[in-house]
């Protein structure tokens, strides 16, 4: 496939991401202004950071005039999962692409864009990631702007319904391969059970979402890799 085609495919696949981002960033815009940021600052934060949990968490630190180090550390902990995703993507990224493409595509390595890139068979072209970014980033920024400037334009019920857009997309990525592969199916059920336990169990549930995601991902993936190592050919699946 040529660059143009790959880019367009990325843009098309990015549409549910854009919808989900609109909803999430809309709520972010409302909260950011409440925390004392101007509309412009809220939009700038979304345009430069492109991360939901990190941005939401930063608001309480900024509102409390917390220290820069405190902010940097909290972002590091909440967003460390991206390092794992970036590591995973490094193995799928087009081997012939210039390293500057890796630098540029890295900016768009959000949970959702990583999810779509992982679902690609074989190598991932930077142009596919750029295509997704071309619709997802404007969605994230526009939603923030709308929320910050006109927090009441979207009825609550629509916002609530859009809340599942990204999760539903994750299901559509994870479920089809699990249907064909029994190991994946059990892996996913096991991950769901452990995730539920970690969310309700006192003492563990106080963990931040970011930490929980990393610990569970590393632990479960490592256990699966030991118990059910994949064969070479499966690498492309």
């Amino acid at each position: 496939m040529g660059r143009r085609k790959v880019f367009l495919k990325g843009s098309r696949d990015g549409i549910p991401v854009m919808l989900g981002y609109l909803a999430v960033s809309f709520s972010f815009g409302i909260l950011a202004v409440k925390a004392g940021l101007t509309e412009g600052q809220s939009i700038l934060m979304s345009a430069l950071n492109l991360t939901s949990a990190g941005q939401f968490a930063s608001l309480s630190i900024i509102a409390a005039s917390g220290g820069y180090v405190e902010l940097a550390l909290s972002q590091f902990i909440i967003n460390l999962r991206y390092a794992l995703m970036s590591f995973s993507l490094s193995q799928k990224f087009d081997g012939k692409a210039h390293w500057l493409h890796r630098c540029a595509a890295a900016f768009g390595n959000t949970d959702e864009i990583f999810a779509l890139a992982s679902a690609v068979k074989g190598e991932v072209s930077p142009w596919y990631i750029y295509g997704m970014m071309a619709v997802a980033v404007p969605g994230w920024v526009t939603g923030t702007a709308l929320g910050a400037i006109a927090g009441n334009v979207l009825p609550l019920r629509v916002l609530s319904a859009l809340g599942v857009a990204l999760y539903a997309m994750f299901c559509a990525i994870v479920v089809p391969p699990a249907k064909k592969n029994e190991t994946l199916l059990y892996l996913i059920l096991c991950a769901m059970a452990l995730s539920l336990i970690c969310t309700v169990l006192p003492g563990i549930r106080e963990m931040s979402d970011g930490t929980r995601v990393i610990l569970l991902t590393v632990g479960i993936s490592a256990a699966a890799a030991l118990l059910r190592p994949v064969k070479e050919e499966q690498d492309e699946a």
Binding site: L50, M85, R102, A105, A161, A165, L166, C171, S221
Partner: protein, 102 residues
């Protein structure tokens, strides 16, 4: 000392970008270890699963509508429907259920 909001924004942007950029640019060789290959093969599935469940149950106005959206998404993706269709219909399921409850 009063910190600037722009300072906060730039620092968090830098930290987040470096986390995303360093592994992708520094690790360019294909990993040979079978354990690491297997580990990385499983990472996306596990990470997407633990991010989705049980968080999806609290993503909407009520756990019931969240569950409805979740079940709709699983049913549709099990039948091999595409990303956009699954995503939109799940949103619609949440919307209709919440409209019916209230």
């Amino acid at each position: 000392m009063k910190h600037s909001v722009y300072g906060y924004i730039l620092i968090m942007a830098l930290v987040t970008y470096l986390i995303r950029m360093l592994p992708l640019t520094l690790i360019r060789k294909r990993i040979k270890s079978r354990f690491l290959q297997s580990f990385l093969y499983y990472v996306p599935y596990v990470t997407l699963t633990v991010m989705t469940f049980p968080a999806i149950l609290s993503a909407t106005g009520s756990p019931w509508s969240g569950a409805a959206g979740f079940l709709t998404a699983i049913a549709l993706s099990w039948r091999g429907k595409g990303l956009i269709f699954t995503s939109l219909v799940s949103c619609a399921a949440v919307f209709l259920l919440e409209a019916a409850i209230v």
